[in-house]
Amino acid sequence: MLNVPDTEIKEGQFNLLLDNFEGPIDLLLVLARSQKVDLSDISISELADQYINFINEYRNIHIEIAADYLVMAAWLTYLKSRLLLPKEEKTDEYTADELEEALKYQLQRLEAFQNISKIIYSRSLVNRDVFYGGSSEGLKVKYNINYTSNLYDLLKSYSQILKSNEQVKQLTIEYSELYSVDQAVKRLKGIFGNITEWTNFLNVIPNLIKANKTINKSIISSNFVASLELSKNGFIDLKQDESFGNIYIKFNQNG
């Protein structure tokens, strides 16, 4: 019973969420089990295909996928290509066989521990399966105080202090010289009367301070946003004759 995979993957069944897996090795393990029960006989090359297919199909449906699953897919692709190549000369790097062996080991070891964790948890646990009990009635009892605060409590407490000290630090936001949309709206409203003819937008905005590009950009963009806002409300008209062409602005006397 303990060797049965936690999750069975049938071919073409990709509605499984990766959240159900504890990382790429865990997913590989589940795939491997669907291939063979005995992991030592597993074909790594076949497993690599299975994994890569799974991930590709998965990406078609779920756009988001944790990066480590992709990294593993890339690694397996690499391993597969190495396995297909003729035997290489011995270099400093791992040989394809060694990589294959290592992956098998990793899978078998994880499987062993997954099984063990089930065996351990199926033991008789205190307060779940077996219980302490008894009663001291009838015997003389003396009490000792035993402080049960443990290391966890201590660390938790210190962490709280660290956290609260962090929170107390003040966050100072620097005064910004950037030109705001509000400023631009106010200013444009002030000069409406002068813009009775179509006027190039760039001539309506304040003189640019040459020294600071960022501020200049903010002046242009906030004035632009402001004029969009004002035209939406009917105060002004805007026009642009061609893409990327000049933008013209005019006071809407009916507005």
Partner: protein
């Protein structure tokens, strides 16, 4: 002994720790009509042991044999958590020792009650360890070997540093915006640890009273 009913009765009477009604016990077993007979059988089995099965009114319970009570005193430990304040103080001392009282107060941002340090000293987890060479020569406080032992450390250097606390999840920010699952989790924690929250005011007076 093959009688499962007898085993069940024994286990329930043992685990409940208090007298149980014969009718309630009946519910738990198969051979309901024989409940009285089974209980008498158990009573007989234990009659010369250190534990006896006793009937009072219509209720049954295990209790220690009467003839032992005169000579036997057992020591029971009453478990108690440190107050939050004491725990904070202790953790600051553990991490920043040797440290003065007013340095601790600075970190905690509150004045410390009179008994706080005394209490920790009484438990045996902190000790005075010299004086700081600043005006007033305040006492410096450090943790003791008993502290190291009680908290299951091999040495003080085992205390995880800030980075490790973070990596182990202690510094996770949960409080800022509680999600539904956080709330559910907190709830569960509360249920499991009823006694943790109410600890705060267990002070040194209780400590003396109960011993």
């Amino acid at each position: 002994m093959d009688n499962k009913d007898i085993k069940i009765l024994e286990a329930i009477l043992f685990a409940s720790g208090e007298p149980l009604d014969e009718n309630d016990l009946k519910e738990k077993i198969k051979d309901k009509n024989n409940i009285s007979k089974l209980l008498l059988e158990i009573k007989d089995f234990y009659k010369n042991r250190g534990i006896n099965l006793i009937k009072t009114g219509n209720k049954w319970s295990f209790r220690t044999a009467e003839d032992l009570s005169d000579e036997l005193t057992i020591f029971k430990t009453q478990k108690r958590k440190l107050s939050r304040a004491a725990l904070e103080t202790l953790s600051i001392i553990a991490y920043q020792q040797p440290i003065t009282r007013s340095e601790i107060e600075n970190i905690r941002g509150v004045q410390m009650g009179r008994g706080s340090l005394d209490h920790l000293m009484e438990i045996g987890w902190i000790r005075p360890s010299g004086r700081k060479s600043i005006p007033g020569k305040p006492t410096l406080w450090s943790t003791t070997d008993l502290f190291v032992e009680h908290f299951g450390l091999n040495s003080l250097s085992d205390l995880p540093n800030k980075e490790e606390l973070k990596a182990s999840g202690f510094l996770d920010k949960r409080a800022a915006i509680a999600t539904i699952s956080d709330l559910a989790k907190n709830d569960e924690n509360l249920q499991g640890n009823d006694n943790l929250e109410q600890e705060d005011e267990n002070n040194i007076d209780d400590f003396i009273q109960n011993t």
